[in-house]
Symmetry: C2
Subunit: 412 residues, 2 copies
Amino acid sequence: MSQPFLRGVRVIESSAFIAAPLAGMTLAQYGADVVRIDMIGGGIDYGRLPRMPEGRSLYWTGLNKGKRSVAVDIRRPEGRELVQALVSAPGEQGGVLLTNIGVPWLSHDALARQRADVITCTIEGHADGSTAVDYTVNCATGLPAMTGNGSEQAPVNSVLPAWDIACAYQAAFAISAAVQGRAVTGTGAQMRLALSDVAFATMSHLGYLAEAELLHVDRPALGNFLYGAFGKDFGARDGRRLYVAAISLGQWKALVAACGLQEAVRRIEAATGLNLDDEGDRYAAREAIAAEIVPWCAARSLETIGQRFTEQKVCWGTYRTVRQAVAQDPRLGSANPVFQTVHTAGVGRHLAAGGAVRLMGVPHPPVVPAPMLGQHTDEVLADVLGLGDAAIGRLLALGIVAGPAQDPLMAG
Amino acid sequence: MSQPFLRGVRVIESSAFIAAPLAGMTLAQYGADVVRIDMIGGGIDYGRLPRMPEGRSLYWTGLNKGKRSVAVDIRRPEGRELVQALVSAPGEQGGVLLTNIGVPWLSHDALARQRADVITCTIEGHADGSTAVDYTVNCATGLPAMTGNGSEQAPVNSVLPAWDIACAYQAAFAISAAVQGRAVTGTGAQMRLALSDVAFATMSHLGYLAEAELLHVDRPALGNFLYGAFGKDFGARDGRRLYVAAISLGQWKALVAACGLQEAVRRIEAATGLNLDDEGDRYAAREAIAAEIVPWCAARSLETIGQRFTEQKVCWGTYRTVRQAVAQDPRLGSANPVFQTVHTAGVGRHLAAGGAVRLMGVPHPPVVPAPMLGQHTDEVLADVLGLGDAAIGRLLALGIVAGPAQDPLMAG
């Protein structure tokens, strides 16, 4: 990549689970040197499901691609001092810590005593320091009560940890912005980012909070209808399902043309007084519109519908499983520069994504697989701290650091 | 804010809906001068639901806080030239376009002819330029097939546009990184970011794609169980519901202690041969574990459970509606610096979130409400393009630009 935007930026990451690791990986995908620190033998997320039969975690290897791995015994003072030294090592571009592990010896103040312009970004559950994960935040947003069709006996959770993901990309943004700010002002930054603040701030941005506060309504569970315009799932003749959205006027006109709904639209408008060119009116008439499309889709195969919709530029998508997606979609393959086939130690060859942002005119950077635990211990101690072979050998012999031979999955 | 990281960065945004506007707002929340360009009278998202009775959109005002608004007749050549001039205006920090509207006159090449180091970030549905929205991408990820308890007749969609949100925060990150890269190298960047690439790349990062490719399994719909560890919703005696997660060993030990499950754990372990200190084994034993917690919660009020869980540091949260969240949660109020009360024209006073990242030691920047349409037309033409009163008066008189008096909701 001729322009790795963050080349030269070094981030020390002490993390687990999703938000912090995904933030670090995002920085690495755009050129930062991200060094993940783990306990010798692996942190609490090293074995998370799904796992290969031999034990390597597809979760961990997915979230730590392109990083360097250093294994340290952080229970011992000398191990902790090494990690502090890695964060506070001199040089224009070092001095950045990304963490979701709130330990005093990696606090901003402790590090700022060693390097005054240090940048720290700490991800936490709630801003008061209490614990939370995506699922215990999401239940409190009100979204599960709006999911499903209202007939369920309990709220319906989303399976995607959307707040972890949002938090990760915001943290990557904040670190990038803080590094840029430090280049201008010379000043570091102590940043804290709570998962619940990401969730509730985003709910504010999308209008949910103001709607509840000012209009005193809670949105109902709408099944798979889309709030505020027209969108719905439909079944094809062959049992496959698809989703159709008509948010913009252009999308609506395309749908009407593709399904031949002109007469139905006139009928619905005459009966209701609504103007279906208005998205809010389409939302009001959603049941009547859907009733016209159900038989149209049910009479045709998914292939026929898809050809017609694609020709007419309808906004639509197919329901499928992840296996179907991987097997069938050329967007998930080497035709797409975002995806490459890599070989991950202990996993084998598989499709993996790099950064989703494509920089036109330059090749997409290679997707670098996740390291073995401690794969870069020697290298990082040498190039960041300037330690020689003897000093590194001593740390290894004392068990203060470890190389990849002590990865418990090394045999994999 | 003594350190607005992106102060002096000016971004011209020509956008609609969620991903691009939320990206622009995120940049504005950290100090960038974000100028949103809209058609006179408003773009296609200006009236999106939910709306105030007088017409102002809580969706639009939520997603455009803190921006400057310029209203331009972009159907006329002189209007288009003005927008091009705003993007390519000289100065170290200008020259950035954020858009999800793929029009030739705002293409990277057209702009680069005017300013060689221009940075453009174009958000699109699919990378091939075909249309997609969050819902037509999400159905194809496989997630709806994993949502709900498997008894539904159709896949269950998420109501949160999580991919739009992820795309927004990634775009903000990419623009910040590109601006930093340009400061070092002097080179601009043409960036493209497809919503479907964000979704599938993130599915790769979380291990879903490798799991399908290598292990040949699709995850089942688990109801509200959490994949890979223990997590589940439970009902309290008073009809309220809560979610409990035990991902880490610490969270599990806290849950066992809080509910007095020590004996039940020994029983389950003896019967199954599992070790419930292992998160994967907790996942395997999830039904048996849940069966112990159901009666414990059903015998207690939510308040009693919450006190016990909070004392014991259990990771948990309450299900509630958005109205309950706004009414009851001190995290959504002035006790939290992320939230402030603002007055938005046409809306009134309401709670609104700024950026979720808190910078310790400095006051959180004020939350600036969304502008009226064209509120900053005069000001931006003067300070970015250096136009004088006469030139601006001429553009207004010709209807090439408009001020806030021509906002259709100005009376609101």
